[in-house]
């Protein structure tokens, strides 16, 4: 398990590789991917997940369902860093013909990927179904689901929230990427979602609100989530889309496009120097 300082450096390295990967692919979703780098890093390197790249089929492993499949570049990058595929494959094959790293994930693309996603609103149902089946067999692992704020426009998301509340699925930890943007603009302009916390609580969920870039908070929230009985848990993670690259941060225009070569160069410089805060650049 890494220290907080190590996690922050790992997250920066993952962001940099994600930029390289997106730039080479020439298409893909930048803002959401960068915004979730800290959470993915903490899950895989912060001691939250029970997982073993040498035994990806271990029945005791924790499961992760990604619902907003378009941020898969950050998942692929994290999985490569965790040892599930080579860095070469990660950097050079995103969205290429014949690749395992599809533009939106296919189930079994890489071993820990449990579900296909892309069409928004489907992932929580899948995660909840998986968790229900695990409950039937009294299995102990945790089922995580990462979902976006925009996909709360989808009715199916709320169907799944209702269902998990009814069944008190305390083996479900949903992590909501609350970055406030979607393709056409800000979520509260497109279709207001607030008060999200109260809505989940009214549906019989336990809600933990965190800064989604604060590794200590992410780890503490996931630990708390495991300790909650009789309720599914939502970690409402406030994130900054495009986090770490100033011209991408908070810009919904960066939802669905990759940087060009010049933008990538500047993005990588900012990430290496932590936005100019340090002189010694790190990988």
């Amino acid at each position: 398990m890494m220290t907080i300082a190590q996690l922050e450096r790992k997250a920066s390295a993952i962001r940099q590789d994600c930029i390289r990967m997106l730039t080479e692919a020439g298409s893909g979703h930048s803002a959401g991917s960068l915004g979730m780098a800290d959470i993915f890093t903490a899950l895989y390197f912060g001691g939250i997940f029970t997982h073993d790249p040498a035994h990806p089929d271990d029945p005791h492993r924790d499961r992760l369902f990604l619902s907003n499949g378009h941020i898969c570049p950050i998942w692929y990058t994290t999985l490569a860093h965790a040892g599930y595929c080579s860095r070469e494959e990660m950097l050079h094959t995103l969205r290429a013909l014949g690749t395992r790293l599809q533009g939106h994930p296919h189930r079994k693309a890489l071993p820990p990927i449990e579900n296909p996603s892309g069409p928004l609103g489907q992932g929580l149902s899948q995660a909840v179904g998986y968790a229900l089946a695990a409950k039937m067999d009294r299995r102990k692992f945790q089922v995580y689901c990462i979902l976006s704020d925009g996909e709360h426009d989808e009715g199916q998301t709320w169907e799944a929230i209702l269902f998990a509340g009814k069944h008190r699925l305390d083996n479900v930890t949903a992590i909501l990427d609350r970055n406030n943007i979607q393709i056409d603009g800000m979520t509260e302009d497109i279709m207001p979602l607030e008060p999200l916390r109260a809505k989940y609580e009214a549906f019989n969920w336990h809600v933990i609100e965190i800064d989604g870039h604060h590794h200590e908070q992410i780890i503490a929230a996931c630990s708390e989530a495991k300790a909650i009985y009789e309720k599914p848990v939502l970690i409402l993670a406030h994130t900054i889309p495009g986090k770490g690259v100033d011209f991408m941060e908070f810009q919904y225009e960066w939802h669905g496009k990759p940087p060009n070569a010049a933008e990538a160069k500047e993005a990588l410089r900012q990430l290496r120097t932590l936005g100019g805060k340090i002189h010694g650049e790190h990988e």
């Binding site: 296909p116 489907q122 149902s125 089946a133 199916q156 169907e159």
Partner: protein, 383 residues
């Protein structure tokens, strides 16, 4: 023209109910076979689970719920969620049967079926109740006439439309044993039980229910009975002809009196209203012929070998289904025969129209899916 066929079909005439054209034939809704099959599958495999969207009784999931309450999941009126839940349970290792009306599942939740199930190759069984126009009084919104088309088009999907309650029970068990997505459709109304408990059933296999040389009928679902009735009438079977004679005076009266206030006259004018006399004239025009009848419950994968072999022998085909003629069994048969045995094919099915309220028997008649229409189509192909 050379037509190739590699497989010998099952010849199953001996497996049909012995008293098919008497009033002793049992009438059961095919959904009952689903209910029986679920319980058997549940006993055979502890991983079988059933999900249902507030339609437990009418989809016949109730018996499973009673026997295995801990393996039954009431989802509420939320078909999209149900399909996602089923996909998640399948990813875990369960064998979920997701049950609802076909208009809602796979209708309303088609994207979930496409991505969460078919693309994922999830081991989910989708059970669509109340398929076809014979749903009756509930009207067009509840009559699934597009479900074969929208499932057949999905890669990895198996599509089954069994002909009676026995076959639906076997199809349910076959679906449970098959690893991968399966869509299984069944119907609400009682229909003749024309097979026996011993008649074989296999995914991907059609069965020749009646052998003949002059034309081939390929049918699925309860209308297989109408296909057999049509073939027997053309063969001069007095018992079969008597069934039609007895059926029509009352039906003719009901159809001709249907010009109620607000009734669409345009459609009424296009409807052929059969009478015992017009059926007799139709049959005498055709003369005695020998018609092959193929039951094709496995719409996908289609048993193209059996169908092509028959088409090569008879040179003409009629397809029969309780479904839109676009995209269903007609489409599947036409696609299979076009490259290897292109013979004339006429479809019996829903003529690019929505249904409406009415009694099942009236609706099948009004939209042209009963034995006299099949006989008429064969007559057109023979002339």
């Amino acid at each position: 023209m050379t037509c190739k066929a590699n497989f010998l079909p099952f010849v199953l005439a001996k497996h049909l109910h012995a008293k098919l054209f008497t009033n002793q034939v049992v009438q059961l809704p095919t959904r009952n076979g689903y209910g029986d099959g679920l319980v058997l599958a549940g006993r055979q495999n502890p991983d079988v689970v059933v999900l249902c969207c507030d339609l437990t009784e009418s989809t016949r999931s109730l018996a499973f719920q009673k026997e295995f309450p801990n393996r039954f999941v009431e989802v509420g009126v939320a078909e999209q969620n149900m399909m996602g839940l089923a996909a998640g349970m399948a990813a875990y290792g369960k064998v979920p049967f997701a049950s609802s009306y076909a208009v809602f599942s796979p209708g309303r939740n088609w994207d979930q079926v496409r991505v969460s199930v078919a693309y994922a190759e999830a081991n989910v069984k989708i059970a669509g109740a109340h398929s076809g126009i014979s749903v009756g009084p509930d009207g067009a919104t509840h009559q699934a006439l597009e479900d074969i088309a929208i499932t057949r088009v999905l890669p990895n999907m198996v599509v089954l439309a069994p002909c009676d309650a026995h076959e639906t029970r076997k199809a349910t068990l076959a679906a449970a044993a098959h690893h991968g997505p399966v869509y299984l459709r069944f119907t609400r109304e009682p229909s003749p039980v024309l097979t026996t408990p011993r008649s074989p059933f296999m995914i991907g296999k059609a069965q020749v229910f009646r052998t003949g040389t002059d034309a081939t009928i390929v049918a699925c679902g309860p209308l297989v009975y109408e296909a057999l009735l049509a073939a027997e009438c053309i063969a001069g079977n007095g018992a079969a002809q008597r069934i039609l004679r007895d059926r029509y005076p009352a039906l003719t009266a009901r159809l001709t009196q249907s010009a109620l206030p607000g009734h669409t006259r345009e459609r009424a004018q296009t409807v052929t209203v059969w009478t015992p006399e017009s059926i007799r004239d139709l049959l005498s025009d055709i003369g005695r012929r020998d018609i092959e009848v193929i039951n094709s419950p496995s719409v996908k994968p289609l048993d193209a070998d059996t169908i092509a072999k028959s088409a090569a022998k008879t040179g003409r085909v009629v397809t029969v289904e309780e479904h839109q003629i676009t995209g269903g069994l007609f489409g599947a048969v036409a696609e299979a025969l076009a490259p290897r045995c292109p013979v004339p094919i006429l479809p019996i099915g829903m003529p690019d129209s929505f249904g409406e309220s009415g009694e099942p028997r009236e609706l099948l008649e009004k939209y042209g899916m009963t034995a006299p229409f099949i006989i008429q189509a064969i007559g057109r192909l023979l002339s």
